[in-house]
C-alpha cells in the first residue's frame, strides 16, 4: 500500500491505517514535542492533541508536499497554541552576538543532556531556538507565530544560544572534574 493510499484510508477512519501512521511517525513527532516542552507530561499532552488533530484533519491533506512536513506543522502549531494561551510576557531585547561557539568534545555530550538543556530553557527562548535552529523557520515566520517583533525573535535566539553554551560547558566541566 502506498503512503497516499494509507493517508486516504486514515481519512476513511480506518483504524489499522491510523495505527500504521502512528507507528511510522509517532517517534519523530513525540521527540518534536519533547523539544518544545519543558517536561514529559507537557510534551505528551501536546503530542496527543496534535495527533488527534492530524487524524481528524487528514482528509484535508492535499497530497502536495511532504506528509511528514504537514504533520510536523500541525504538531508545532499545537505546541505554539498552548504556549500562546499561557500569555507569556515578552522578554526584553538584549544585544548578544549571533555566533555562539562552544568548546566541546562531542563524545562527551549526551543526547539526553542536550534535550534536558533545551527543556530547561525559559519558554520563549525554547520556542525560538526550536523553531529557528531545529525546524528551520525564519525570524519573520517566528515573529508571526509568537506575535513578537522580528528583533525580539533574534535576540531571544541569541539569548537561548548563550544560555545553552553556558550550560553545555558547565555540564562538561562538571563531568571532567567529577
Amino acid at each position: 500500500m502506498s503512503l497516499n493510499k494509507l493517508i486516504k484510508q486514515c481519512a476513511l477512519n480506518d483504524k489499522k491505517a491510523q495505527a500504521t501512521v502512528y507507528q511510522l511517525y509517532g517517534g519523530k513527532l513525540f521527540a518534536l514535542c519533547l523539544k518544545y516542552s519543558n517536561n514529559k507530561q507537557e510534551a505528551q499532552d501536546s503530542f496527543q492533541d496534535g495527533f488527534i488533530i492530524i487524524f481528524n484533519k487528514i482528509g484535508q491533506f492535499n497530497f502536495k508536499g511532504s506528509f511528514e512536513g504537514w504533520m510536523k506543522r500541525i504538531m508545532v502549531n499545537t505546541v505554539l497554541q498552548k504556549y500562546r494561551k499561557k500569555n507569556v510576557l515578552n522578554i526584553v531585547t538584549e544585544d548578544i552576538p549571533d555566533e555562539i561557539i562552544v568548546d566541546v568534545d562531542e563524545e562527551e555530550v549526551s543526547l539526553d543532556m542536550l534535550l534536558k538543556l533545551i527543556q530547561e530553557l525559559p519558554e520563549r527562548y525554547r520556542m525560538v531556538f526550536n523553531l529557528y535552529v531545529l525546524d528551520g523557520y525564519t525570524h519573520k515566520e517566528i515573529s508571526s507565530f509568537l506575535n513578537i517583533a522580528e528583533g525580539t525573535s533574534k535576540s531571544n535566539l541569541s539569548r537561548a544560544r548563550f544560555i545553552l553554551k553556558e550550560k553545555v560547558e558547565s555540564v562538561l566541566s562538571d563531568q571532567i572534574s567529577g
Partner: protein, 402 residues
C-alpha cells in the same frame, strides 16, 4: 577530539532527527478521540446515488434470500495490509533511515529506526531526564556504532489495534421495516377529490408501510440510506350525499363494475343543506380515496450518540411512484368502487425528517425505531385547493450489518 563548535550545529546534529517512542497510553487516548472530519476530496454525490441505485437493483432482482455477508466481503479488502506494503511505505518515506519491520503473528510488531546523526556517538547515557521513570528514554547499543530507540512495546501493537476486529468493520446494513402510517394534510382540510367538497370534513386513514432499507456508513457520523417501501394511504371525505341511479346491467359479459360509477350522483351534504329536498332519496356517506405508492427514499442519517443505544437524526426525500388509485363510496354499510382519481400524479416526492433510535441486540444485528414525518409535494395535479398531504410513520426495523 575537542573542537570549537557552533552551538546550533551541536543541537541540530543531535536532536534534529531524534525519535522517541511515545508513552503507551498515548495511542489509547488518541484513538478514542479521533473524529474524522469530511475529506475535501470526497466521492461525488452522483456516484453515491448511482451506487445506491445499483445496490437497490441488485436487491430487488436477486431478492433478500441471496443477500449474505460473505457475498459483500470484497468491499473491505482494501483494509488488509501486507507486511510488504508497509515496508514499501517506510522505504519511500525515509530515505535517510535504515528501517526494518519484523512481522510476527502477521502484525507489524516493531519499527526500529536508526538515527544516522548519532553514528559517531555511541556513548548515550542512561540517566533519567525527569524524576519519574522516563520510559521513552533513549538507550545505547555498544555492539554497533548505531543507535536504536527502544521500548517498542509503547507502540500501538496487536493488543491495542486488533486487526481482525478492524477488518470486520461493517459499513453496510440491510433492514426490513414496517410502519403504521397516519395520513393527513396541512392547510385547510379540504377534500382532494373535488372542489365541491371543500367544506366537507376530511380525515386521514391509518395504514401501513413496509419495505426494505439499506444503509451505507460514510464515516463515524454520517450514513446514507435508501430502500423500497410499499405505502398505502387513504383519505376519507365525509358527509357526502349520494343517490343511487338506475344501474343498467347486462348480466352476461360483465366487463366492469356492475354499477356504472357515472350514474351515482354524488354531492356535498354541506352544499345541499340550503336545499334540503335536493336529494330526497339520498343517503349520506363518505368517499374513501385509497392510493398506494412504491416509495424510494434517499436519506442522510447523522449520528448524535453512539453505543449500544444510538440516537440519530434522519433527513432526506423520497420519490413516490403511484401504484394504487381507487375511489370508493361508502354508505350504509356498502362500499362501491367508483373509479380512480384523475388528479393523482404518477410520480411525486416527499421531504422526510425524523429521528432514529438504534439498539444493538447482537454483534451485527440491531433494531431501530424511527418516527418520520414525510411531507408530500406534487401529489395532485388539480382540484386540491391548498391540500398539502403528509404522513407520519413510526418505522420499526430489524437491521443486519455486513
Amino acid at each position: 577530539m575537542r573542537e570549537e563548535k557552533n552551538i546550533d550545529r551541536l543541537f541540530q546534529e543531535k536532536l534534529k532527527d531524534l525519535e522517541v517512542f511515545p508513552p503507551k497510553k498515548s495511542w489509547d487516548i488518541i484513538e478514542k478521540r479521533i473524529v474524522v472530519s469530511p475529506a475535501k476530496r470526497r466521492i461525488p454525490f452522483w456516484v453515491r446515488i448511482t451506487s445506491i441505485a445499483a445496490m437497490l437493483l441488485a436487491f430487488i432482482t436477486l431478492g433478500n434470500r441471496y443477500i449474505a455477508p460473505n457475498n459483500l466481503g470484497g468491499f473491505q479488502q482494501f483494509i488488509f495490509k501486507t507486511k510488504d506494503s508497509i515496508k514499501g511505505i517506510v522505504q519511500n518515506e525515509n530515505t535517510k533511515k535504515e528501517t526494518s519491520i519484523t512481522d510476527t503473528n502477521n502484525e507489524v510488531t516493531e519499527l526500529k529506526t536508526k538515527v544516522i546523526s548519532l553514528n559517531a556517538h555511541p556513548q548515550i547515557s542512561e540517566t533519567t531526564l525527569e524524576e519519574d521513570s522516563f520510559s521513552e528514554k533513549v538507550s545505547q547499543e555498544n555492539t554497533k556504532s548505531s543507535f536504536y530507540l527502544k521500548d517498542g512495546q509503547n507502540l500501538p501493537l496487536k493488543k491495542e489495534v486488533p486487526a481482525p476486529e478492524i477488518a470486520k468493520e461493517k459499513r453496510w446494513s440491510i433492514a426490513y421495516n414496517v410502519a403504521p402510517i397516519y395520513f393527513s394534510s396541512f392547510g385547510s382540510s379540504t377534500s382532494p377529490v373535488d372542489n365541491q367538497f371543500e367544506n366537507n370534513s376530511t380525515s386521514g386513514k391509518s395504514n401501513f408501510s413496509h419495505g426494505i432499507k439499506i444503509a451505507f456508513k460514510l464515516n463515524n457520523k454520517f450514513s446514507v440510506q435508501s430502500g423500497v417501501n410499499l405505502v398505502d394511504v387513504g383519505y376519507t371525505t365525509n358527509n357526502i350525499h349520494l343517490t343511487p341511479g338506475v344501474a343498467i346491467v347486462s348480466l352476461a359479459d360483465i366487463s366492469e363494475a356492475p354499477i356504472n360509477s357515472s350514474k351515482i350522483p354524488v354531492a356535498s351534504l354541506e352544499k345541499s343543506l340550503s336545499k334540503p329536498n335536493a336529494f330526497p332519496n339520498s343517503n349520506t356517506g363518505s368517499i374513501d380515496q385509497v392510493f398506494g405508492y412504491v416509495e424510494i427514499p434517499l436519506e442522510i442519517k447523522y449520528q448524535i450518540t453512539e453505543g449500544k443505544l444510538g440516537l440519530n437524526i434522519v433527513g432526506g426525500f423520497s420519490t413516490l411512484f403511484l401504484n394504487k388509485n381507487e375511489l370508493l363510496i361508502e354508505a350504509d354499510g356498502f362500499t362501491t368502487n367508483i373509479g380512480e382519481a384523475s388528479n393523482l400524479k404518477d410520480i411525486n416526492f416527499s421531504g422526510n425528517i425524523g429521528v432514529d433510535v438504534d439498539y444493538l441486540i447482537h454483534k451485527n444485528l440491531y433494531i431501530n425505531v424511527s418516527p418520520m414525518l414525510k411531507v408530500q409535494t406534487n401529489t395532485f395535479s388539480k382540484s386540491t385547493g391548498d391540500f398539502q398531504p403528509y404522513y407520519l410513520g413510526i418505522y420499526t426495523g430489524l437491521n443486519f450489518k455486513f
